[in-house]
Symmetry: D2
Subunit: 371 residues, 4 copies
């Protein structure tokens, strides 16, 4: 069985060409200066291991203030870790997680929800812009008959904010989903891989986007927005926190040198770094959106609300971009057309954005004449 | 239910006093300069995420040279991750792992082997200095009747090098265990949390300590010896590597910004950093051992072969040390006596070691007179 | 949370009315005389427990002759047991099972495949009459990129013969699916809950329907066709059999008084009982089908090939049937119409079938006039 | 890898000699007449499947009266099923079950507790006659620090009544264990494979031996005492019952033709059949015990309290018994001596017991002279 490029690279050197796309993912960005400084600052002297250090002791205070409520914070190193851990804490082995069929937990986390729950299942819903609707949630609960042993036990819902289409749930939408879920005995998980971008875009507070909207547990992403390898599972429920403690250790996330994780997570909140970085990334996306909107035959598959763009490009424009050095990442947006995903980051270079805009402008003006 | 200190700290601030012991653990040491420089050096520009970056591409070459054989390298962030992942790759849900009852995987990894194997079990053996013997392994295999469905399927053995008592398996001992294991169809795992210290102490090559001695898969530790949060699961078997690829992702260890993990793992080998650091830690331990051996009524529970000391101290000596600022960590060494564990590190301060020696010398000379 | 009728009945008495439908399920039939006699016959004297008895020793010979090949036979008590066990033996915790979205393993086995595989996932395909097509299987394998660690490892396909729509895969269709599966490294499972009915309907041999068509492992149903509580997981692959041995015991299916299971399974083959019973059930279905086809406005959702009928009935006919004592079981056949499922059995009473036919005939002749 | 006798028999015919021991196990006995009659009696007409039948509806009433309390009854086909299911309902994947190291769940259930709990672990205690003591339980809980995430979460204790040594916990002992367990947040499971024998031997009521002594859930055995393949998991806690409902289905124990299971379980209580049979088996054991006690050099490893005898026999006596046709089953009772286990049953033949007594008597009188 042939291993695909990615895995081959991971497994052995020279196994593949490394594809380099531009504006490919915020995961490709380096660590921002403020975070790296915090990491360096904590790199002196000995500290007690396994989270009993002074930085880690400050996590709950810092995040408690951020969320305006007592918060139980569990650092993890990846988003897949975080989602798996969070879902595992609220889903028994015989439970299901209701979510959108395009959720990252469904499509590209290698079965982490099944692994962490010990054999749970995801019940997949459809919905525009990767959002699940109250109606579809209610229908799913009706269909799977809470308490019918021939089915599994509906135990949790998972929503992504912003969704994998870069679109926001409004606070009211979240609250309504939570209410339906809670009424049926389900817990509510929020995958916040890009929660900073969602927060600055929506203007709501961290509290409003989470526990005030009924969220019981969330995966709080920071890596895509400037840190090195720090995400956090955060819950507001002491009962869930107790379970998390065991799962977190058991899955190997109780870092011996925890201080380096905590330094990142604290620095992320310091001076509103999360806001500064997210604003920049979103702003970059808005510039690219504006430039593309000036071009004929460009069509957006989803509204641009955070730092992601999902767009159909005419062949001549994508070729021009490529000639100017932009290797954009193809993305299956359906309809058999040439879809692309662009993800902007806090650290995109101004000259690159300018060059992208210029290319679009040239195309736009030539289109006026030629197309 | 009251949460213990450690967990309380992790969960919420102010929950506990942070105990600070001296010479407590090599996990308390900071990141050494060479590794931190490597991390800083790779912190520029965008890179492809999820391990398809240039640094990660170099891992297998570097470790292949280190082990003198094609090596499949899977970076993880903690030793518990690493052990769980490695054991999960060679133990089916209905399988058992034969190991010493004092193994770290048994005592303090929160059930990671059961989690990662999906329901396996550890068969516990006894043995001096936390080593398992050929005889006890053979007896266990005889007793559990390979292939008897009333029992589970003996699938793997796990040995720790050096053991949790800081003692080395000789190469011949490892080979003999592997041979017995392989003959019965079991795979061999080596927990190398302190493998650098073991290598420099024993003088054997990485190849001799692993695959030449029959090891199929190992957890290669670097965090205790100078890195930040980088361990690696390494196998020499392509079949195991294929399984590892899926488990590694599924458990959340395919870091989006993998370059920072790979930078650490590469730097660890660079200029034999692993050797330099391990030699220093072992040498520090030897100095402390020598100092203690000059004292009356001091007794070692295990021979000192790496950077760990397990020692019974007379009350007057431990008091003297405490008065001189050394809060040593009590350790249950049995017999109802005052046992202590000291772990030396690559970065122990020379003046502290000197002060420890001085305290011992004072005690020793006063003992000559008084005791 | 309110428990639904079924569970409530199971949990506590008086919790619900017991709904009684007619021609509801072949699971409602009693044990046929030949099987019960075999059970009684073996009920004397002591026997060695846990499968080491003389009847069990004969299972492989009997089924080996039936399948014309060495067969490894594992008795289980329910179809869900059987499917879970079979899938668990060929699906690792990180593996997926490709199957039709309407498969019994998906809809009404409570998550047994996830439980038995230790965290696997089912990849759901669509297809007419609950059959999966070669094209859809190939697309699924292409999409999930065998070996892409971001996904799970496609490990098995599961087909149901006859499908949940009572429709048969032709031998050529099965072979083609198996070939695609095997080429991609997947194993092939066949859920044969009604395999007897499928065999007599298709006229192919047990060998042709299973291993000659590439089936690696099957759940062989007998309970619906005249036994008490005996199904068997049967594989032709010694490697799979070894795994099965452990899973079978571990899941609790190694019956202490195995002789009573084996007596049923042996009796089922004796004098071609399986054939006699299945022919009768299929024949009953054909009579009902013929009667319904004489009625105006009756429409079949699926062709009737075994002992199951899926049919849309005009309101006036369903009312007439009800008045004549036939409470038919509503079944969601889509389109918002009045669908019903009828399942005929080896022991349907001749007078009941006759009465059903009479009711249809009356309706048909009145329709001629009135509709 | 060679498959052992038992598995080989199960897997393929002719693979082994079938060993026949006498007084080997109560699992070797046939189904008693009253139970078989009940099975035959329910074998007419159609019934609703999956437990929604009239017999199953009566289970809770019958067992509720038996236990003098509302009882939630889940039929299963084997004791391993039952124990796994019961433990799975009270042990999360990160939990431990504290039990005696010789428990059947530890030694010969193929890892069912790990399977059903989804990765739990058993914490093994020692104790005379296979009983765990309050002191050892308290020490285990102290050592594993409830709530210490480096360990797993102590979640349940499991006691066997009578123990695998055939010895009874007194009611006071059970209560004390339960109190310690409950105080620490653990649930209490009782493995009642031979609970009938324990009840008649102790003279306490079913209520006194279970919920009045703090038992939350039990595996209620009937197969060893006269039924065919019917055990029941019984809990008095509606919360546990809800979880059981899902696990019971998921693991494949919701029998389609449930009536045959329920008929056995009801018949077992009818006319105090359980008592009659257990009294007979215990009485048979007492006769054998008395006969052996008359013989010189016979030593009992455990007191004989139910229908099991664990005894060291002098070589000359075991030879005499063998010559008279009694092939007794060797049993490792330690000390390197010739240990044997004899298990008496409700249906042992009077003439066999007589012959055994005669053999003993002959040996006894000859010993008087010769030894």
């Amino acid at each position: 069985m042939r291993l695909p490029n990615m895995a081959a690279v991971l497994l052995r050197p020279g196994g593949s060409e490394i594809a380099t796309y531009h504006f490919n993912s915020d995961n490709g960005a380096p660590v921002c200066d403020q975070v790296m400084s915090a990491v360096l600052r904590c790199n002196q002297g000995t500290e007690t291991a396994y989270g009993a250090d002074h930085l880690t002791a400050g996590l709950s205070t810092a995040y408690g203030e951020f969320f305006e409520r007592e918060s139980f914070v569990f650092p993890v190193a990846t988003g897949t870790d975080g989602n798996g851990l969070a879902l595992g804490a609220i889903t028994p082995p015989y439970g299901t997680i209701v979510c959108h069929e395009s959720s990252h937990i469904v499509t590209t986390e290698g079965g982490a929800p099944e692994f962490y729950s010990g054999g749970g299942r995801m019940t997949l819903l459809q919905g525009e812009h990767n959002k699940i609707s109250s109606a579809s949630l209610e229908e799913a609960l009706r269909k799977h008959g809470i308490g019918n042993v021939h089915h599994m036990a509906a135990s949790a819902i998972s929503v992504t904010q912003a969704t994998e289409a870069g679109v926001l749930y409004e606070t009211g939408e979240l609250s309504e989903l939570s209410e339906i879920a809670h009424r049926a005995g389900l817990k509510v998980h929020l995958d916040g891989a890009r929660i900073s971008n969602a927060l600055v875009s929506s203007g709501v507070t961290p509290a409003e986007m989470t526990w005030k909207a009924g969220v019981d547990i969330l995966t709080f992403g920071t890596t895509k927005n400037g840190t090195m390898n720090a995400e956090a599972v955060i819950t507001f429920d002491p009962g869930i926190a107790r379970v998390l403690g065991f799962l977190h250790k058991r899955a190997g996330h109780l870092f011996s040198k925890m201080r380096y994780m905590s330094a990142q997570l604290l620095s992320f909140l310091d001076n509103d770094l999360w806001r500064t970085n997210a604003l920049q990334a979103n702003k970059n996306a808005a510039r690219i959106e504006a430039a593309l909107k000036r071009c004929a035959c460009v069509e957006f598959a989803h509204p641009v609300q955070i730092n992601e763009l999902f767009v159909f490009l005419p062949r001549r424009l994508s070729e021009s971009l490529r000639q100017r050095g932009f290797h954009l990442r193809p993305w299956d947006l359906g309809e058999g057309r040439d879809g692309f995903r662009l993800v902007m980051s806090y650290c995109d270079k101004a000259e690159e954005i300018q060059r992208f805009e210029d290319t679009c402008n040239e195309y736009a003006s030539s289109s006026d004449v030629a197309d």
